[in-house]
């Protein structure tokens, strides 16, 4: 399915090192083509397959005015026709030969990816060049795909009991920054979009100097370079500048509460957010460790007290959701039967304050780091996972080397660092509380 991570990008669980474990670094090569396309490659011959990814530096935050959801709708259209490719030809070149393809649209980027048997590498580089260079979609195809995206909206937002809650968290958490607009859009905004919007968006953002190509797996480096030059090096950039989001989210003036309701809410839920720094911040690792101590696993503080000991919650989460421009530090919980959102927010704030006031123990620090390192290892088991890790470092942190250095930095985070970031970003700023309950009172 074409999909997108509408809500939360996996926190930068990219890559973390353990003291006793030598994780081989991701050994990537980099070059920039004359047309500005950045090319990264990671050679690995352990399976006869190769992952090909193109990351465009355009995401939901770049949705045109009155067109929320457009970057994502556009992502779907990129699987339709180009000058030399019929609609769905990308599937013929991947699925039909034993590969797969997909794409997702995040706030800050749109990411297209394929995994194919390695003897199809040239074919896919040609295909990625095709859709970077041209898009020739007709109105009937555009409208049919727009219906698919509307079904995706219903599938993600309207049908699941907590779909509207996740939708509300971004909207309520940002006052100014376009991160507040829902990446999946709305039925009205999707209906308002036109084929002309599609062409304009392609011209504006889908160009070599706004893209990163990552190839990981079984390939010959010299051959790769020649094919990349042949199929992607020849694409020209338009003369126009790439528009960037310049909106600055102001510090929050006061704490706020947003009460959201829906018809179908089996158990009440509540989320508290604080503004956090960008993914590239030196404090990103300390915030990630803080979130793990609060909410990762059944021995985390929030799970232990709220779910296990006091039985007021059905589920808890904590996350440092750090993006390109800025991030959110979030804690949330779904209540257990008979418990309300006020109990939930009180309990979460109690755990937040405890972490601000007292540094975590050495055991907790080691546990959080081991958890984060192991999830990085899991990601690195596949070529696709390695390419994902690299792409996030490049696009969100503007630093490919961070894919490896983040691991070292994570190892160096101290209990005092965790306490410091809790004081700086959480105690030192205002919280927004988003509650989610059934229309007409608790059910």
């Amino acid at each position: 399915m074409r999909m997108r991570s509408v809500l939360i990008l996996l926190l930068l669980a990219t890559c973390r090192l353990s003291a006793e474990l030598a994780i081989p670094p991701i050994d990537y090569k980099h070059r920039t083509l004359p047309n500005g396309l950045e090319v990264y490659s990671v050679e690995d011959h352990s399976t006869p397959a190769v992952a090909i990814q193109v990351w465009y530096r355009v995401g939901s935050k770049n949705d045109p005015e009155g067109r929320s959801g457009f970057a994502h709708l556009f992502e779907h259209i990129m699987f339709k026709s180009t000058k030399h490719m019929k609609s769905e030809m990308m599937d013929r070149l991947t699925e039909d030969v034993g590969g797969e393809n997909n794409a997702n649209t995040a706030d800050d980027f749109t990411h297209y990816y394929e995994v194919v048997p390695s003897n199809y590498l040239e074919t896919l580089l040609w295909a990625e060049g095709e859709r970077m260079g041209s898009l020739t979609v007709d109105d009937a195809t555009f409208k049919s795909e727009r219906e698919v995206v509307k079904e995706e909206f219903r599938f993600r937002v309207l049908a699941p009991p907590y779909g509207r809650f996740a939708y509300a968290v971004n909207k309520d958490s940002f006052d100014v920054h376009p991160y507040r607009r829902p990446g999946i859009g709305s039925i009205e905004d999707l209906d308002a979009s036109t084929l002309a919007d599609v062409q304009a968006f392609h011209t504006t953002f889908y160009r070599p100097d706004n893209a990163v190509l990552i190839v990981a797996g079984d390939f010959d480096p010299q051959q790769l370079n020649a094919w990349v030059d042949k199929y992607l090096g020849v694409i020209a950039n338009p003369g126009t500048a790439i528009p960037r989001v310049t909106a600055k989210e102001p510090p929050r003036a006061q704490a706020k509460r947003f009460d959201e309701h829906a018809a179908n809410v089996p158990l009440p839920a509540v989320c508290i957010t604080w503004l956090a720094p960008a993914a590239s911040s030196a404090d990103s690792d300390a915030l990630t460790v803080a979130a793990a101590i609060l909410g990762r696993g059944e021995s985390s503080r929030m799970y232990r007290t709220m779910v296990y000991r006091d039985k007021i919650s059905q589920d808890v989460e904590a996350e440092a959701d750090l993006r390109e421009d800025l991030g959110l530090f979030e804690v949330d919980t779904t209540m257990a039967t008979g418990h309300n959102v006020d109990e939930g927010s009180k309990a979460m704030l109690r755990e937040i304050e405890a972490l601000e006031k007292t540094p975590p123990s050495a055991d907790e620090m080691e546990k959080a780091k081991n958890q984060l390192i192991t999830s990085a290892l899991r990601q690195r088991e596949t070529n696709e996972g390695k390419a994902d890790a690299l792409g996030e470092a490049i696009v969100l942190e503007h630093d490919a080397a961070a894919v490896n250095s983040d691991l070292t930095r994570l190892q160096a985070v101290t209990a005092a660092d965790v306490q410091r970031v809790m004081k700086q970003y959480i105690a030192g700023s205002k919280r927004y509380t988003i509650t989610y309950t059934a229309e007409g009172g608790a059910k």
Partner: protein, 481 residues
């Protein structure tokens, strides 16, 4: 500095020289394929009957392990749906030497994950850990399998959580549709209940039920241990001997549950949920056993019908008509005949149209032969999914455990690809006639009934409409008395 500039000039030169090449208007042809290396498992059976399977891979320093008990939700006693799953979930909630909190803290301190739960035919305990911490983490796995205490307060906590979680699912059209179709396809037979139970059946479960289930089925001669990843086979076997060598079962080995007879008459069931944001539409029927000789042919047939993005169902429902975010189908192969389901979520207004498309496509599989030109790419899709599935230590572990669970040769891990390639159009048609045609299929829709009932009744004669709040998953006929 100079080197960088030189490199840039070289690139420019290369680009210019290639730009003179004629435009490529068709996809470049593939080069010769590279052959995949499928790792070879080794195995040993301990004196107490525990079968241990190990496969070494050298990719990243991780190991996955699965301890599979060959009994699951099919053995839930009547009125106690969810017992196997509750028993499995409670394993990690306390042993004779460690509390639930000590287990969670100990496992997570290693960066490991230890999860337990039941399926049909199986109860699993899964571990995933970095290699240097393997023996410490495996000690937790062995302890929770062999020495759980099932303390009263842990049972109460687990039951309350399970009931809350079921109540959430009962408000989700797709989850509710799955619960309902299980009942509709299998009625009161052993595969006919929800494996996670119902709020009523979970409330009924006692400590005695759980302890008895554990004592009866969790024994070395009813289990298999699989380990895959960066571990030496000899070390893995030694670890298994150390941790499980002293494990004993009491009394005779349990028999597996009786066959799952399906109700004879096909039904069309609508669960009316007026505030559903989308309708969940399914066509379901009894499928095949895992050990059925037609297993691979059925996999290929499903790849054509509803496995993957370019399958017929997604082509007709999503790509051509924009009626859904995704449509698909699949067999759930089990020890006995498991369910086959085809489905999609769609706006309430188009639910009847989608049901019709699902049925038409299932029948077309049985009536019209699939051309080689369609079959070849769908086989490639299946093979690609398979190869990616066993790329990780976790995927490899699961695949091997499933083969062991159903008594199939482990060598199938390397024969799967050639087996799929050998399937003929005739074999696909044969299996489609017996396992996909919709004469014996049920239709289940959960959604806002007033928006699709009229067109649905125009196509199907007997439509059984049950309001969501009147559904009783405990009853074979689904109705609250």
């Amino acid at each position: 500095m100079k080197r960088v500039m030189l490199a840039a000039v070289c690139c420019l030169f290369a680009a210019v020289s290639f730009a003179q090449v004629a435009e490529q208007t068709t996809p470049p042809a593939p080069s010769a394929p590279h052959q995949p290396q499928i790792p070879t498992p080794v195995e040993k059976t301990l004196a107490n009957g525990l079968r241990v399977i190990v496969v070494e891979t050298h990719n990243v320093p991780l190991v996955s392990a699965r301890l599979a008990i060959k009994t699951g939700a099919e053995a839930d006693p009547a009125g106690h749906a969810g017992l196997a799953d509750t028993t499995a979930a409670l394993l990690t909630k306390g042993t004779t030497t460690k509390s639930a909190e000590e287990i969670a803290r100990g496992v997570e301190a290693l960066g490991a994950s230890l999860d337990s739960g039941a399926g049909f035919d199986v109860s699993n305990v899964d571990l995933n850990v970095m290699s240097p911490k393997l023996s410490e983490a495996m000690a937790f796995l062995a302890d929770v399998v062999r020495h759980p205490t099932f303390k009263k307060d842990e049972i109460e906590r687990q039951k309350a959580q399970a009931i809350d979680s079921l109540n959430v699912d009962l408000h989700d059209p797709d989850a509710l549709a799955h619960f309902v179709l299980t009942r509709v396809v299998f009625g009161a037979a052993p595969y006919g209940h929800n494996l996670g139970g119902t709020p009523e059946s979970i409330a009924r479960i006692t400590r005695e039920d759980v302890a008895k289930f554990h004592q009866r089925y969790y024994r070395p001669d009813n289990a298999v241990l699989v380990m895959a990843g960066e571990v030496k086979a000899e070390d893995a076997f030694a670890l298994a001997q150390k941790l499980f060598g002293g494990w004993k079962g009491a009394g005779p080995k349990p028999a597996s549950a009786k066959p799952a007879a399906a109700p004879a008459k096909a039904r069309v069931v609508v669960i009316d949920m007026p505030d559903a944001g989308q309708a969940a539409v399914y066509v379901a029927r009894a499928g095949l056993r895992r050990a059925d000789p037609q297993y691979l042919a059925a996999q290929v047939a499903n790849a054509v019908l509803g496995g993957g993005y370019s399958s017929r169902l997604n082509e007709e429902i999503r790509i051509k008509r924009g009626l859904s975010y995704g449509a698909g189908s699949g067999f759930d192969f089990r020890r006995d005949v498991g369910p086959f389901t085809a489905g999609a979520q769609t706006k309430n207004e188009s639910a009847a149209e989608v049901a019709g498309l699902l049925i038409d496509e299932m029948n077309r599989m049985a009536t019209t032969p699939v051309e080689e030109s369609e079959l070849t790419p769908r086989k490639a899709t299946l093979i690609g999914d398979y190869a990616r599935g066993i790329e990780t230590s976790r995927g490899l572990t699961r695949r091997l455990a499933a083969l062991a669970l159903y008594g199939l040769p482990l060598a199938e891990i390397s024969h799967y690809i050639t087996g799929v390639q050998a399937i003929t159009p005739e074999q696909v048609r044969e299996v489609s006639k017996s396992a996909l045609a919709t004469g014996a299929a049920d239709v289940i829709i959960v959604g806002d009934a007033k928006k699709f009932l009229e067109p649905l009744k125009a196509r199907f004669k007997d439509v059984d409409v049950i309001p969501a709040e009147k559904v009783d998953l405990n009853a074979a006929n689904l109705r609250r008395k």
